[in-house]
């Protein structure tokens, strides 16, 4: 599903150029659950942004579903993103001005799903995430665990092929964290490919394969299953 080869990314300030990704290569097959680990600043988030088509690499190749996507313009990337990729963030990133229902509905609006279909789909996902009773609340009125469940609901509402999770349990206590990991595992078992960046060895164990990075390069790769 994903094949990256010699991927490069630099950050430049006026005087210094920092290498974020240094000729990084690996593949992810459809249906896989991959965890990416490494110390702060090793390039995990940069990688995730590129995989999520939020950012463009400076060099190398990125093939997504058989298509070379490095060099895509913003509009093409946005289009590919909204149909194929769901995101889960450490800080949930819900829109404070929208209710739970409206937050989850948002991706469907942008992909042009009809209103009645949207309603059914949102209800279905909210039920699944056991957050239906909170659908008319605003994010600030929810606990962290509930907010992350809403975020996961939003990530999967469009049935994406790929979910990118950036330390999804980072802001949660262990029981809420485990709940979220169980949700991701379940989604993976239903066929969704998941790539997760994490600092937690505990969370990484939920995956099939752990890629460890340092200074923008892959150091080791452990297959767990």
């Amino acid at each position: 599903m994903i094949k990256i080869t010699d991927l490069e990314k630099y950050y430049r300030t006026e005087e210094v150029q920092t290498v974020a990704l240094n000729k990084l290569s690996f593949d992810v097959r459809e249906g896989e659950f991959v965890a990416i680990m490494g110390p702060s600043g090793c390039g995990k988030s940069t990688l995730l942004n590129i995989l999520g088509l939020l950012d463009d690499p400076d060099g190398g190749s990125f093939i997504f579903n058989g298509i070379e996507v490095s060099g895509f313009n913003e509009r093409k990337r946005a289009n590919l993103r909204k149909h194929n990729i769901g995101f889960v963030f450490q800080s949930f990133n819900l829109i404070d001005e929208l209710t739970v229902y409206e937050n989850v509905e948002l991706p469907l609006i942008y992909t042009g799903v009809k209103a009645t279909d949207r309603k059914n789909r949102v209800h279905e996902v909210l039920e699944k995430m056991q957050i239906m009773h909170r659908r008319n609340h605003f994010p600030q009125q929810l606990s962290g665990g509930q907010q992350q469940r809403v975020a996961v609901a939003r990530a999967v509402v469009n049935n994406p092929k790929l979910i990118l999770a950036d330390e999804p349990t980072g802001n949660l206590d262990s029981s809420n964290g485990n709940e979220v990991m169980d949700l991701l595992t379940e989604l993976n078992q239903q066929g969704t490919t998941i790539i997760m960046v994490t600092h937690s060895e505990h969370d990484a164990k939920f995956s099939h394969r752990i890629i460890r990075m340092l200074d923008g390069q892959k150091v080791t790769e452990n297959v767990l299953v």
Binding site: G52, L54, N79, F89, N93, D96, E97, L106, P107, N158
Partner: protein
Amino acid sequence: MIRNYFKIAWRNLKKNKFYSIINISGLALGMFCSFLIWFWVKDEMSYDRFYPGYEDIYFVRCNSDFNGKVVTSGLTPSPLAEALKKDVPEVAFVTKLAYNRNLLINFGEKAGKENGLYASDDFFDVFRLPAIAGNPKDALVSPDHIVITRNVAEKYFRDISPLGKTIRLNNDKDYTVGAVIENIPSNSTVQLDWVVNFKETEQEWMQLWGNTMLRTYVRLHPEAAPENAEINMKGIYPKYADMDVIPILQPLKDVRLYSDYKNGKPSGGGIEYIHIFMIVALFILAIACINFMNMATARSSLRAKEVGIRKVVGAGRNSLFKQFISESILTSLLGLLLALGLVKLMLPAFSRFLRRPIEMDITDPTTLISIIVLLLITGFLSGSYPALYLSAISPIHNLKNKLKPGFLNAAFLRKSLVVFQFTLSIFLIISMIVINGQMQYMRSENLGLDRERVLSIPLEGELYNKMEPFKQEVLRSAAIENATTSAMLPIDIGSSSGDLSWPEKDPDLQTNVSVMHVGYDFIQTMNIELASGRDFSKDFRTDSLAYLINESTAELMGMEDPVGKQISFWNGEAPVIGMMKDFHIQSLHMPITPLVLCLDPLNSSQMLVKTRAGKTAEAIQDLEKLTRKFNPNYPFEYHFLDTEYEKLYRTDTMISTLIRYFGILAMVISVMGLLALAAFTAEQRTKEIGIRKVLGASVTNIVTLLSGNFTRLVLISIVIASPIAWYTMHLWLNSFAYSIELQWWMFILAGSVVILIAWITVSGQSIKAATANPVKGLRSE
């Protein structure tokens, strides 16, 4: 999708009430001004366009040569009308109008004065006014008939039909009502409540081509080209009169706004004010939009996360742009509703102020379109920058709240916009001060003759016939100091002549001197200073032929001591018996021109009465008694000369008042924006302020820090606005022959007022931030 946009827009508005109120009310005030100005402009532009086939109606003006310069006059000689009809094939109809007169109308017991005019046969073919009863065309050409308007018909005849009834005009002649026409709309440059055929007032001397006192209008054939008509009109004067005069055509719709001619071409006369106020409207709207833009960009950092999330879940730049524009359009819409409410509330007062029936008719398509256009322009103008700016940032930056790349530019833009706003406000305030100064000057300027405690009484009916006995009785009143008679008001002498001649005159020199007929005691009553010689006196029988001149006339003739010299004018060759010091004979827009006074009490149209100090009320009572005794058929009528003088400046007063209100509004809107920006900055810098305080900064330090930035912006605005205002006001003052000088203190005053207001606005917020507990600011991060 749209619903979603408006939903979040609405929630944002509710969440940030303070900023929403400032945005909406600012926009409302801006739109309110624009609407008022638009309705006024629309009214001004509507003049004379209601006449059926108005495109074919033209006002005839005459270009003539005066010492090498082309002078354009709106007054034409009587025989021109007949010549136009005969010699210009493009002309279908011609009508000539004598000047409007306010004459007494009697029907049975009812009496009143009504404004009307004498017009020649084709009047109703040129001005196709709708008839209510009778045939106005036939009525006008039938002898002894009068055409009246609905107003007059309802006032004098109530329920009975006026057709065929006889009314007495000017207590002199009876006329049969031949037709009733609809009231003339107030946006007509020709106003009347009755019309009688011109022949009724025609006199032999009017047949001379040199006597210009009529307004002439033509209606061309629909397919005729006015250029061709003008070519044919060139032949008229050479054919009938040996004069260097060329008649020209002015479209009727232009008469209202293009009354001034320079070098034979229209140069303005009202349209300038339309342009000025349209620019003012645009300025004020821009100021309000800037508030909105500034707050939106300033607060965009708070929206960054939302934009980032939307992008991550699939929003394209396009849909984000639409979202922000919908938000600003929603805000504009709320502003618009508020503005329309304000307009509805203020329109009656505005109409009274303009003395015009200004209406807001939302169903009128042009109004409706202008409202929608205004809404869209405001929405796009205010929302475009934040929309473009926020939607362009990469989602990663948005999510990290890292807005650095564009943010510096946004801050610079914001500062520039604040400078722009204040430049406009300061410009308007300087203009306000200068215009006010000039108005004060005009009110208080010594004209060279008295206008306080002087009353004018029209000499009509028996007051004219028994002028002298009436004057003697008036003088007997203890409340009255003096009295004289004159042909017109001495503060606005409109009559002039080229007939002045003197022995040493260069035969090629063309002269144009103002002229007025007066009665005895004119100089004394008006308290005009004599430079030499004396006033007309009954002791000298030859005075009936003599002349009084002013200093400018003496200068024109090159005479240092003109008294006793013979000059030739309307009374033939006769001596100058006195030279008056120059006094203002027209509004201060006009320079003092040479003036000749001729003694001829019988040519008087009014009595000028000087009352004793503090006795004006008694004087009016005495005058009323006397008028009732001498002239029982006429209502008692009097005017204060100083009120009439104020009327000369009606347009100036109106402009000055409008500039004052709009200037204050512009300032208010700017200050509102500054307040919001200051509040926001203080909010943004809470942490910085906390750290500074922990490190030992005093409240004064903090307030100076926060207010200093804004003060600098206002100072820059003053530097930019002052020269622009100086230049513009210099131009405006040049439109007066007599004006104040621009003074440095006017600029200092405007600047200080604005700085003070800005400082109060900003420091309130700064003090609030500076006195807050620093721990709070530090904890918030």
